[in-house]
Every structure is written in C-alpha cells, then in structure tokens.
Amino acid sequence: MGGEPVAPRPSADLLRVLTCGSVDDGKSTLIGRLLHDSDLLYEDHLAAVRKDSATTGHAGGQVDLALLADGLVAEREQGITIDVAHLYFSTPRRSFIIADTPGHEQYTRNMVTGASTSELAVILVDAARGITTQTRRHSLIVNLLGISSVVVAVNKMDLVDYREDRFESIASAVRELASALGLPDPVCIPVSALHGDGVVEPGANMGWYDGPCLMEHLEQVDAAVHAAGASGIVGGRLRLPVQLVIRPDHRFRGFAGTVCEGTLRAGDRVRVEPSGRTTAIARIVTFDGDLEEAPTGRSVVITTSDEIDIGRGDVIVDPAHPPQRARRVTATIVWMAEADLVVGREYLLAQGGQTMSCRVSEVMGRLDVDALESVPAAAVRLNDIATVTVRTDAELIFDPYTQNRTTGSFILIERSSNATVAAGMIEAAAPAAAWEAVPGATLERQRSSISGAERAERLGQRPATVLLTGLTGAGKSTIASALERELFERGRTTVRLDGENMRLGVSRDLGFSSRDRSENVRRTAELARLVNDQGLIAIAALVAPSAAVRERARELIGADRFVEVFLDPPLEVCRARDRAGLYEAADRGEIRQFPGVSAPYDKPANADLVLDTSRLDVDACVRAITAWLEAGQFIGAVETPEP
C-alpha cells in the first residue's frame, strides 16, 4: 500500500453497487482489495483486521482482506458472510455504496434485498470453476430486480495462470447465459482479488487484456436505473406516492412524498389516484424555499390549487399516463420466510403508503434456476421465486415493475408475527375472476309474477341452501343424498347440487386449481340462488376449501337462507374411506393442489353445524340438519311470509 490514505471530498456522483458471488468466489476479498488498493482504509480499521487475521483469518498469514467486509462476530468465526452489509467509499470520480450480499444458496432473500436498492451488479465467477448454479441464480435475480448494468468479475485468475483462453471461454459462457435471460451483454473483467491484478491496477500478469480495470469501469460506467422511468415516455410519467398530509394549522395543507418518476412542476395539471380527481400543483414547498420543479428522487411537500381530499396511499400522477388499478395482479414473488406460503391465507401487502389485506389466490409456477424456466410448484418455500396471482381487498394502484421499481413492487407481511415474508414484482393486472365480472349495463332482471309467499304456501317450505363442505371422504355426497331422501319423504321439494355432478356438466371446462375450484363454487352458488328464488331448497355438496370463497357464496345466496354444514371427521377416516385412491395419487404428486394434502382446506370458523361423520351415523347427521331447518322455519310449521 503506497502513499497517504486519501479521503476526497464526496463527489457529486453516487453509485449503488451490489456484489454477488458464491461462498468461495472470494467476494469479500475483492471488496477488501478495492478499498485497500484505493488507499481508502483507515489505519485503525486495518489494524483491527490485521489483529483478527492472526486469530481467525483464512488467508494463511497474510492480511485477510475479507474480514473488512465480514462484520459480525459469528460470521467471522464461520468464515462466510451471511447478511447484507453496506460499505461506503469515495474516489475523486465517484462515491459508492456497496451492498455486499452473501453467496450461499439459502440466502437468496438477502441478495434480493441488496438488489432492490442497487443500480449496478458485480457478479463474481471463480476462474477455476467457471459458471455455476450460483452464477445462474445471481444473474436471474439481478435481471428480475431490474438491474441492467452488470459486471462479471472473473476472479482467481492467478489459479489459472492468468490464461487468456480460460477467461475467454468463461466470458463466452457468460454472454450465452445473459442472452438466455434476456440481459444485455455484461462487461467481463479478469481479476485476482488475492494479488490485486485487474482490481485497481492492471498488474503485470495479464498483458493480453486491454479493457478497463474493475475500479476504472465502476467509476466510468453510466448506470442509470433503467427501472425508474423505463416506461418509454420521455422524461418519465409523474408518480408521487403520498406519504402523509402536512397540516400544521388551518391555513396550510400540503402533501408529502418522494417523486418516484418524472418531474414535478409547479402549475402542472395532475390527477390523484384512486379518486381520479384532477387539480394543479400550486406550490412545491421545501424548508429551503419553494421549488419550480422537482426531479425523480426528490422528497417534497406540494399544495394543490383545489381543495380535494388526498391522503396517505394516494398517488399523484401525470393525467396523460395514469397508473393501473386492480384488485388482482400477477406478480413474481421471492419467498423470504421459513414457513411456506399458504395459498388463500390473509397477508398484508405494503407498497409505500398503500397497505391492504391480500391473499395469494393461485401459484402458477416456480422458477427453476438451472433450467431458467417455470415449473409447477406444490409449495412456495424459503428462497423460492414464484409467479402468483395476488388478490387484494382494496384497489391497488401500480405500474408494471419493469416500468417503475417503486410503484411496481410490494412486500408481503405475515399478520401475526409482522415479519416481511416476501418481495413482489408486479407483472400485470390479472383478469378478474367471474365473481367480480359486471353484467352488461343493458341487462335487466326479468321478474316472476309468483311471489315468495305464494310459493311458500304451495310448497310448504321456505327456500334455503344447505352447503355441505369438507375434505374428500368426509361424507358430503352420502349425506346430501340421504338429506334429499328425507326431505322428499316429508313432501318437501329440493334440488341436489353435487360438486362431482357439476363437473360432469356445468363445470366440465374447469380443473382443480384454486381459481377453478372457486369458479365451480360460484356456478353452484348461482344455481342455488336461482332455485331458491323459485322456492326450492338447494343441497350443495362441495369441498369448497377456501373460507373466502365460501364467504362469497354466502353473500351471493343471502346469509339469511344459507346454512354452512362442516363435515369434520379426522383426516385418517377420510383417507380410509377413499376407495378411488385420490389421496394416494395426491401423495405421489399425480394430483396437484389436493386439499388436505398439497393444498390447504380452511376449516370453517363459524359453521352453522359441525358434524363429525366418524362418530355420527348418516341418520344422525340428517336429523341434525333437518332440526336446524325446522328451527329456522324453513320446513315444518312454515309461517307464510308477508307478501
């Protein structure tokens, strides 16, 4: 190390860099080398590393530069980096924030975390080993997170005698990988972090290489974040998510937030999502005086020319290019929790000020990092990258992630622990499920001339829908038939809607994904409503595994005439009764998304009746249901409702 350390004035330019490599690629050593050879280390930091090198270092007597990057005690003992560490340094040309993320496979979440705020990625490849699964994974994540500026540092050139042919063969494999991923060609640089060649100085061993050293490249590369303003609109489309309302007194009402795309200009017309109201920017207020305009990235307070209602979670946008709004989006998520994703469970979705309940309603597939393609997924586990459909309780205002990193991303939060369990990147609005489809505006309901009272008097009953829900083998069809027989004997009029029969006809186009199951329940519920409207009692036998979907059926039919009967024998009993071998097929993975095996069944929390069919015989179950119908005066002494 020569000369006095230099701590230059911070240069105006700041670049956020992500470094990724596998455990043994020597990434920490490379970062240490960058700092060391740029004379950017403080003497006492270096002294501490020298001291630690003697006791825990792995550099065989030399100063272990990796210890600079590996901060925590436990990590130093293990000799690997396990979390995201941030390092700061400046050269006369540029200031850098390095997010150092671990290379070990089980820590994908940390790399995604580091990538989410980085503008350039350095991927390390071991010259002796070439491209590995890790290299593929890192390239995939870098691409997924929207970092288009990538440097591949081919490290440990000393181990391959600084041979040009070895470097060229790796560089060509890297270009192949990039092209398979749809990444622009990365810049490849040969280095030896251990000895310093190609890091800050070219060194004497690679005369054949005429490209820039790593540091030189980092100082000069133009790494504008392509995701901010990648909409193709010149100058970007205004996006100002509102963080909070600033209202010190009745005279001032401003809206605070950070411009995440486009330029905000005083006087410009803007639109407020989701209300859709338009107004003009009256002032851009800052502590240091009003601004005429504020570029992307600036934190501001604005006032509007009209008094309109704006709050946290609203987004102020360019009226010519508004964002999208949907309650259902397709997204790529990276799962970050030990516990698997539960399809249908309620999570919180957060994107800046927008926070809402949501459920992952469908898993379309999981990314296989070796094959670089989507494969079917029975579960979404820690570090999995999956494509899913997310359904939100409120309308989400968003842009596709490829167009805007802020309005295109979200996190998922587990409600009981408040842990951040997933990172999400939005692809597009998903087609609304049929539940939400709005009938054509010209359609009108054709009314019957027969009143409910007339029907009740003729039939001696009031209409109701009995939903028998439970796992395969719980006894739904058996009890539906017995109940139908009993009511028939009593002179009542029923329509039996068995899920299996539905699938033989009305729902023959549907499969068994959660989306298709939901649709089968909807169709059954619509039929039940129709027959109820004609005064008949509907008996529906459906697995209906999702509590949310059953709730929708209840709303559609009408809560006052909907009876939820949960058939709840132990799972072993269901399996024992399963003569068709469906459970075994599900165990073998031949049937996918099978409730109770590879898909969840949400047990009803507030069923009207819970019947354990392993302890109650069929007659007892039927008696319980008819007693419930009598108590509700649907059958028995039927009081004729007022016309």
């Binding site: 925590l72 941030h86 924030i97 990235g297 600036r298």
Partner: protein
C-alpha cells in the same frame, strides 16, 4: 436537473423520517447533541416543514456529558422549539455510578443502555430514531434502516426483517419497537459537508480551541469539571484540541488540532488516517464489543 450526492442522501433520510411519522403511534428521536444528531434534527425539520417536528426528542443524560453540550441542548430546544425529554437512570444516580470507579463497560450499561430502556418504556415509544451511520463500525454495517427490537429492546442480527426498495415495514406487536436510522447511508464526511452546506449549528467542542487536557495511555482527556479524577503525576495542560465525536467527557478522547473552522475541520478530515470512533474508549474493550452492546439494547 441533477441531484447531487448530498441531495440524494437528504431525500432518502427525509423519506425515512416521514415514513416513521406516518406508520407509528408514538415515535421519539434520540438526541445525543452530537453532530449526527444535529443533522438528523435538521432533516426532521425539513421533513415536516412548514409544520413542526411531530415527535419529542429524548436525551439520555448520564450527568457526565461535556457541560457545553448541555448548554447547547437547552439553547437549541428554546430556539428551534422542540419538545425535549431528559432522562437519567435514577438507580444509577443513587448508586453513584461513574466512569472512574465502575469501568467504562459497567458505567455505559447502567447510565446509557439501562437508562435508555427506562426512558423508552416510560414513554411507551414504539419507534426511536438514532443517528448511527453504517460506516461507523463493522457491526453497524449490517443494521437495517428499520431495525426491529423485541419487548426487551434486544437486536437479533441473525433474524432481521429483509428491507426492500423503500417499502419499510414498521409493524410491531405490543411492547415491541423499531429503532430507525435515517442516516444509515451517510459517511462522516457527508455529515460534515452537509453541516457546512446547510449552516447547521454544532457544539463548539467540534472545533479546535485551547482546552485543559491530560494525556492518559495515548488518549487526550479534557478536564471538563471539578469531578475529573487525576491519576498520579497528571496535571492539566492547555492544548489546542477538538473532538471528532462527543459523549461523556471522561470517556471521549480529543485530537490535537488547530482546525477552528468547519472548512479547516473538513480539510483535516480529508487527510485523516484514523476513523472517528477510535476516540471512544468503550469500543476498544474487545473486537465485536459494539455488537454485544447492541444485542443488549444499546443504540
């Protein structure tokens, strides 16, 4: 319109501070009176302008701070007009815990760490801002911006919430809290340049002046009041010194310097070969000592 580096750091910090105000029921800002705290306070004023800072400032007073710090604190509270909470550990005070008799580790635990926990519990604060920067010390480099603490204020470095984009997760259960570090991405030099660019007032101890000091084991300690304990043969001598960091005067080393203006300090910084925390006695007990303290609830 190009945003320069300080503007970019300011924008990020202002965004973080506003997120806390929006997400938490009862935040508080730790005010150590140092230069980083002064910058953090300035950023908070910017974040809510033209409104006031919507949360109180908390100073944990060990009773051993430099007297100039306390005077500066009280004057700032009056001039800027923020709500100031001052807390001293009453048990430590009653037991006469001091840095001379009880060792820096024990003293720091009682008068700083325990005192801080008492104050946070008493105020039922669910978020506490700190002015720490990731470049200060190696264990800080892995700290989140929103750093989760359990009901006992403990940090679990192996079980931190992933922090993505600028979507901060501030949700906590009863008794749990978040420590928030809006200056995470600032360096010491950034702080100095920002102070200069924004004309932020700082405690004069940061600028060189003739002060009474003794040299002990290579560290220059200032004789700030009559409670200073001289060791055999020690006598105060007047030297031109300044401080790179401020804390309890018996635990804070001065550096010899003639830099009496901000510009001179920055110029001296530019030639510095030692990091700023080196002046702090408490960090040197053992490698990794900061991490141990942080797990226990130290800021």
């Amino acid at each position: 319109m190009e945003r320069d580096r300080l503007q970019r750091l300011e924008d990020e910090s202002v965004h973080i501070i506003r997120e806390v105000a929006a997400q938490f029921r009862k935040p508080v800002m730790l005010y150590s009176i140092g230069k980083d705290s002064s910058v953090m306070l300035h950023l908070a004023r910017k974040a809510f302008h033209p409104g006031p800072v919507p949360f109180p400032l908390l100073h944990v007073d060990t009773t051993w701070k430099f007297s100039e710090m306390i005077a500066f604190r009280d004057r700032m509270a009056g001039e800027i007009g923020f709500e100031l909470i001052v807390h001293t550990n009453p048990d430590g005070l009653a037991a006469g815990i001091n840095p001379f008799d009880h060792g820096s580790a024990h003293y720091t635990d009682i008068m700083k760490t325990q005192a801080l926990k008492q104050a946070l519990d008493a105020g039922r604060f669910d978020a506490a801002f700190g002015g720490a920067r990731r470049d200060e010390e190696r264990s800080r480099a892995k700290e989140r911006v929103f750093s989760f603490r359990d009901g006992q204020h403990r940090w679990d470095p192996k079980n931190q919430r992933p922090e993505l984009w600028n979507h901060y997760n501030g949700r906590v259960g009863s008794g749990e809290s978040i420590r928030v570090f809006p200056l995470s991405n600032w360096t010491e030099l950034d702080v100095w340049h920002y102070i200069g660019a924004n004309e932020i007032e700082i405690v004069p101890l940061y600028l060189a002046a003739p002060r009474p000091v003794v040299e002990r084991d290579g560290t220059l300690l200032m004789v700030d009041d009559e409670r200073f304990r001289f060791e055999a043969g020690e006598r105060p001598e007047t030297r031109s010194v300044r401080f790179r960091t401020l804390g309890c005067y018996p635990l804070t080393g001065a550096v010899e310097s003639t830099a009496a203006t901000l510009a001179e300090v920055v110029a001296e910084m530019a030639a510095a070969t030692r990091s700023e925390r080196e002046g702090r006695v408490i960090d040197h007990d053992q490698s990794g000592s900061m991490e141990h303290k942080k797990r226990e609830g130290y800021f």
